[in-house]
Amino acid sequence: MTSLSSTASSLADVTTSDAALRRFLHGLPGVDQVGVEQRVASLATRSIKTTAKAYALDLAIRMVDLTTLEGADTPGKVRSLGAKALRPDPTDPTCPSVAAVCVYPDMVPYAVEAVTTPGGRLHVASVATAFPSGRSSRSIKLEDTRDAVAAGADEIDMVIDRGAFLTGRYLDVFEEIVAVREACARPDGSRAHLKVIFETGELQTYDNVRRVSWLAMLAGADFIKTSTGKVQPAATLPVTLVMLEAVRDFRASTGRMVGVKPAGGIRTSKDAIRYLVVVNEVAGPDWLDPDWFRFGASSLLNDLLLQRTKMSTGRYSGPDYVTLD
């Protein structure tokens, strides 16, 4: 923390050149791999029961970005996803809606239509920038982003150029995030929220995760997101812990708060609750809010609903009583 605070005054200068950026990112303290994994393992043993569990389940439902990112997506599938996002459990009016639905750019208009109700609407997130690989020219990526924003997306999930990051061209990655952020602007002067996907499964080390977290936050990311869900391993607890430390330290240095979104591989309520424990213990309760922490998931929601039903009825439920995804 001390070394980070001392850098706070010079944060504006670190992005002026590739060399300065490299000096800053490589000057971040290294991650203690064993320490992170040990801390995660001990936090994962916390027992969350009864009323705390009921609260955690509802909070987790409110944090879900209900996602469908398949080549086989159709307007019909997106509509049914939207209906489920609004009323995850149609038999129980006390069940909250999820945070957002997350789709490919061409499905955004259908998603917007599906989650709009007379009482307001849920957020629609769209992946962009040649998701999931990000291997396309910058002009295509920016056009992809503008297209999704014009179609009504409230949040843009961009992927970084992992090749550039791993070969050390940090300023390229930085400038691309800044450019995509500018492409998120709407004609009325507002801006779609930008989530930056790192694909941590391709970044090899926790040190890289810490560096890329700072890089994205310096470039103006509103959210930092672990993975596309298309690469294994996707989100893991240790990686999320490193990212949560980064957003905590970034707020301490700059006063700006950035959200975190683990995505991919979180399928059970037990997993989700472990993430919430880590959020609370590492970043703090300020992040225990759908505005600052999200789960990118599809099958997780069904398990949350099954657990919720178990808590309210006292009997175990089964997959026959939730939708097929």
Partner: protein, 288 residues
């Protein structure tokens, strides 16, 4: 210690869930005494969460097991009989310890269990011809009915250490169901040993799941579970408990087999198989 003595190798009796042998999630165990009232071993005292895990395992195994050909299921049930035959000495000694019966009686009990498995194995590819078939209908249709397995069946096994268990499990799995079994409360150890037989007899993991522990604690969780499709109450001796379980089971219209006095040594009949079947009828238009 004299050079010829060796440390006693004591067996840990665990649960059989999803093809593996886990300890109870709760970490609990209870003491099982032999027929003379002496300490014999500790058995796992399963909890509601073990019931939950077992139902998940049984549901996961159901599609694969029900999707096998009836002929192949018959082969697997027959294979259980083969492996059981090969381990008969272990079962005979366990039955003698559990019930305090003579060697001849124990041998007869194992014989009966093996014979029962073979009997059910033979029915696997014959039952649908007996309970299904073409129906005469007044119209230009070919109409036929065929039995389908119900799904995941909760079974409360009776007290007979081996024959009782085989008599309730074999009919349920022969027709393509998967099951979660609450083993006999006073005689749980043979059930765990039978699990070892299943695990080495080509029975896919999750088709049979064996839990040991108090029936009154475990059976209500099976009865109320919305993902269980049938309930066999053969081992429930207390009429009040049986009644309550039946009421719970009505929540999702489980098929229920009530406890009744029956002679397990007699040829069983088809009732145990047909209770947990759903009849599917197909109408097919005929003509040119």
């Amino acid at each position: 210690m004299s050079p010829t003595s060796r440390a006693e190798v004591r067996k840990t009796y665990k649960l059989y869930v999803g093809g593996a042998f886990p300890r109870s999630e709760s970490g609990r165990s209870y003491v099982v005494n032999d027929a003379k009232g002496r300490f014999w071993a500790n058995a796992s005292h399963a909890s509601r969460k073990d019931v939950r895990d077992a139902v998940v395992a049984a549901r996961k195994a159901f599609d694969g097991w029900a999707g096998r050909t009836a002929y192949n299921r018959g082969q697997v049930v027959y294979r259980i009989a083969e492996v059981l035959e090969g381990r008969r000495e272990q079962f005979e000694s366990e039955i003698r310890a559990a019930e305090g019966v003579t060697a001849a009686r124990a041998r007869a009990a194992v014989d009966a269990a093996v014979d029962r498995l073979v009997w059910y194995a033979g029915w696997a590819d014959k039952l649908s011809q007996v309970v299904g078939g073409a129906n005469p209908v007044a119209g230009p249709f070919l109409n036929h009915s065929a039995p389908d397995p119900s799904g995941v069946i909760g079974v409360v096994a009776p007290d007979g250490p081996l024959l009782g268990l085989v008599s309730v499990v074999a009919p349920v799995i022969t027709t393509g169901n998967t099951c979660v079994v609450v083993a006999s409360e006073p005689h749980p150890l043979t059930a765990v040993t039978l699990g070892e037989v299943m695990a080495t007899a080509d029975v896919p993991g999750g088709v049979v799941n064996l839990l040991t522990g108090p029936r009154a604690e475990l059976a209500p969780w099976l009865a109320s579970h919305m993902d269980v499709n049938g309930l066999d109450l053969t081992g429930v001796a207390d009429p009040e408990l049986a009644r309550n379980l039946e009421i719970e089971a009505a929540q999702n219209l489980k098929r229920v087999r009530r406890p009744a006095d029956e002679d397990l040594l007699a040829t069983p009949g088809l009732g145990r198989m047909t209770t947990f079947l759903e009849t599917k009828t197909v109408w097919h238009p005929v003509g040119r």
